[in-house]
């Protein structure tokens, strides 16, 4: 048990932190929602009602979609884009999808390789792109969820302001939808650019996301 926890501590700790922070968001979000209820002369809503509200769903989904977009772009982008000196980049001479031998697929697959890496055709193509595909699909699904929850939350505000509600397609042209979307995208893109560039010159001893402390600034594709 102890070794299981240690061997999986990265996923477990971040999974647990995710649940704790989501709970914190729910409590803070309910308080914020109820502040607005009181301002409008309306009674506060209980936590259970807030957790099933469009407002909470939109706030959660808008952040999820941007995180998965970040991973999707980073995973696909780093096939062809490199950053000299960055541990986030592969070597400058490896741009592209690389050879079957380098990727250990087909006849180059080892005995412990996943079955779909050894297979050919659609299965190998799917498995070879599965990480990016799944990140991309979760991005699309959560962006769609943001739009559906967002239009309901937006319309709740519209009615509270004594204005007509809008349809889903009208909402896609509303500043609220694009403000929610783009404010998250810009921060994710800044984070990727910062990580790729700062890691050229800065180090974090022992971290898989950093070059070894003594590595040259020009060393590319080296992780600690």
């Amino acid at each position: 048990m102890k070794s299981f926890l240690r061997d999986n501590s990265l996923g477990l700790v971040f999974g647990l932190l995710f649940l704790l922070v989501l709970a914190g968001q729910a409590i803070a979000g309910q308080a914020d929602f109820n502040d607005r209820q009181l301002t409008d002369g309306l009674p506060p809503v209980p936590l259970g009602r807030y957790l099933t509200s469009a407002s909470f769903a939109a706030d959660v989904a808008e952040n999820w979609q941007s995180e998965y977009l970040q991973f999707f772009l980073f995973i696909y982008g780093t096939v062809w884009l490199v950053q000299k000196g960055s541990p986030e980049s592969k070597s400058l001479d490896e741009i592209g999808r690389e050879s079957d031998e380098k990727q250990k697929v087909g006849r180059y697959a080892g005995p412990d390789a996943p079955a779909w890496a050894r297979a050919g055709g659609l299965r190998r193509t799917l498995f070879s792109n599965s990480l990016g595909l799944v990140m991309g699909l979760i991005f699309v699904a959560s962006w769609y969820a943001q739009s559906v929850a967002g239009v309901a939350a937006f319309n709740e505000g519209q009615l509270g302001d004594l204005q007509d509600p809008v349809s889903w397609s009208q909402y896609l042209a509303e500043p609220d939808f694009w403000n929610r979307t783009l404010q998250n995208w810009q921060s994710e893109l800044l984070a990727v650019a910062s990580m790729a560039i700062l890691a050229i010159f800065l180090r974090q001893r022992g971290s898989s996301q950093s070059k070894p402390v003594g590595s040259a600034h020009s060393a590319t594709g080296v992780e600690g």
Partner: protein, 123 residues
């Protein structure tokens, strides 16, 4: 119905029907000179605003607000704690309270790119 409207467990159609019934109740009461009945379905701030502005009890003041009689229901929209009920001749906005839907604004006419102009509203 009040409990389900508050918790949001009822379907959107059921919640819309409940909101529309309260809207019709208000206008029917006004049409029948039942000021107390009409005031009973107003939101607290709307009732207080009416009393403040008229300087008279709600049950008397609401009968002088020139609210139209209840026309046929044309559409209802429900989002979260709010509902809009469109009747032929009037549009009303309602919100959820512990007792169920209550009318926040009535006698509302649309204005382009601005909030509805309402004869009766809270706040």
């Amino acid at each position: 119905m009040a409990a389900s409207a508050l918790t949001g467990c009822a379907s959107v159609d059921e919640r819309g029907d409940a909101a529309a019934a309260v809207a019709v109740r208000l206008l029917t009461a006004v049409q029948g000179d039942d000021g107390a009945g009409a005031c009973a379905v107003l939101a607290p701030e709307t009732r207080a605003e009416l009393i403040d502005s008229a300087g008279r009890p709600c049950a008397e003041a609401i009968l002088d607000e020139n609210l139209p009689g209840p026309g046929p229901i044309e559409a209802t929209a429900v989002y979260g704690q709010w509902a809009q009920v469109r009747l032929a001749g009037d549009t009303l906005f309602l919100a959820v309270f512990p007792e169920g839907w209550r009318v926040v604004a009535a006698g509302c006419t649309p204005r382009p790119d601005r909030p509805y102009d309402c004869v009766l509203q809270g706040g």
